[in-house]
Symmetry: C2
Subunit: 317 residues, 2 copies
Amino acid sequence: MSLVEAVLAGERLALARVLTQVENDTPAGRTALNELFPYTGQAHMIGITGSPGTGKSSLVNHLAKALRMKSDQRVAIIAVDPSSPFTGGALLGDRVRMRDLSGDTGVFIRSMAARGALGGLAHSTAAAAQVLDAAGFHFVLIETVGAGQSEVDIARLAHTTIVVEAPGMGDDIQAIKAGILEIADILVINKADRPGVDNTERALRSMLELANPGRKSQGEHTWQPQVLRTIASQGEGMAALVTAIDEHAAYLRSSGAWQSREQERVQNNLQNLIQATLVARWQKQVAPDHYQAVLQRLYRREISPYQAVDLLLNLED
Amino acid sequence: MSLVEAVLAGERLALARVLTQVENDTPAGRTALNELFPYTGQAHMIGITGSPGTGKSSLVNHLAKALRMKSDQRVAIIAVDPSSPFTGGALLGDRVRMRDLSGDTGVFIRSMAARGALGGLAHSTAAAAQVLDAAGFHFVLIETVGAGQSEVDIARLAHTTIVVEAPGMGDDIQAIKAGILEIADILVINKADRPGVDNTERALRSMLELANPGRKSQGEHTWQPQVLRTIASQGEGMAALVTAIDEHAAYLRSSGAWQSREQERVQNNLQNLIQATLVARWQKQVAPDHYQAVLQRLYRREISPYQAVDLLLNLED
């Protein structure tokens, strides 16, 4: 049995090995993705994002358990850590999580750290999600941290995007949220037993209204982002969250948005690959001496960056 | 007088106009950057990053005032908002800031929202910083929010990177910090009148030790990241912060790191430009029909993403 066949047969060790190949973008990884690609397109990809301090990892844990309990469907978790670009170290929270879920063979957890290149993390996360999709996981939960480009990239990967908040995260948090709220399909206020939860919910609802002024009046085929309260550390609110996820899936399928998000994701992935390939080809083609000479002139400010690009890209003239 | 000459002469209106041209990457913007580039390389670029709730914007405000007071040098602020990719809206905090600093003609404030393309924000921030550098600002403060790729991009732009923390930001914050701490030259614990400040400082110092185990023993030409306490809302701790910035600049110049960071920044900027140019050229070259046909086959999963790239990039064969 080949490695890819073993992945399709559900063997965890083979899956881990292919994921490593794919993340490292080895030739074997590319071949495996080629062979697995026809089996993709089945999983419900769910992105979960939120600032540090919101209890997001705990929420993902309990959500995975709730999804398992409800329908016995298999759940994969990709924990993305874009904050560790230099060491590529493992998440601290990961060990806790492992202990909590590792008894269940219906759950597979993978953590990923940022890679060197710009867009590298988005690319390897997309590839890992494809492998898990082909391997037959019904849900792929993609968890990330922060409030920047990485969340937008996740929104592009996921069918459903969950944004996690917590009460009392400070005042200037308001400024940052508008953009994030625009990508939220479901908003979770975790740690809902904390003081200030009513204020937080009120603030979020008014920002949602600000971010999506039109949504209310657009008829039946629009999705109103849901606002839910949870206390993940006690498992509270998980059933309602699973229901909201189911409702969002039903909305996506009936409205045609499932397919359009799918296509957007595929196209995005293709464009990242094209970009990376173009750069790799150019790097092979340019003479290192020529590159260094141009760079030195740029350092001395004899030429501008745009003039340097002209000198470096017009090799074939 | 041309627009570029007006920028070099210190005219604010011309500066604002050139910044807009440069951010929008218009032909006029590129020409302006070409003409301004020989005048760059003078400013001290300072990146300031931190999670929401740390009071970072207030800190940047008071730091700008302190730099002005100490040496009457001109200060520019670029406030980057990577969280608002869809609307590109203005920062809420910006209006407050404007009111606070607008009386001083030695201060120039520019806010930037995320652009569409991957790496677009890093590119336009780099370009804006170059314009402000050429326009004669002694300090360019680049402020960003979040904990992801954008901070790393800032670290690459800046000579000095300041990471802002606040007491009591939650427990799982520890996991996220290791990567950010690696890029910090100066660590500020703002809101230092809050409870828990001693714990926060202890935790940060031990994480610093973890992140930079070797730094202590590397002799005189190494920089020990400094840990400072501030209460920005009351202007407390600003003098010490200005001193730390001066010391870091002196260290950078004496160790040769000033020049190497400069060169790294220039090279990085060049590579982003090359990437963007390669993609733009390819887009001009590919027939839209061919692209659509390949995309449809990909949607139907008849081919994999890698096979699609092969079909789209081997046009000249």
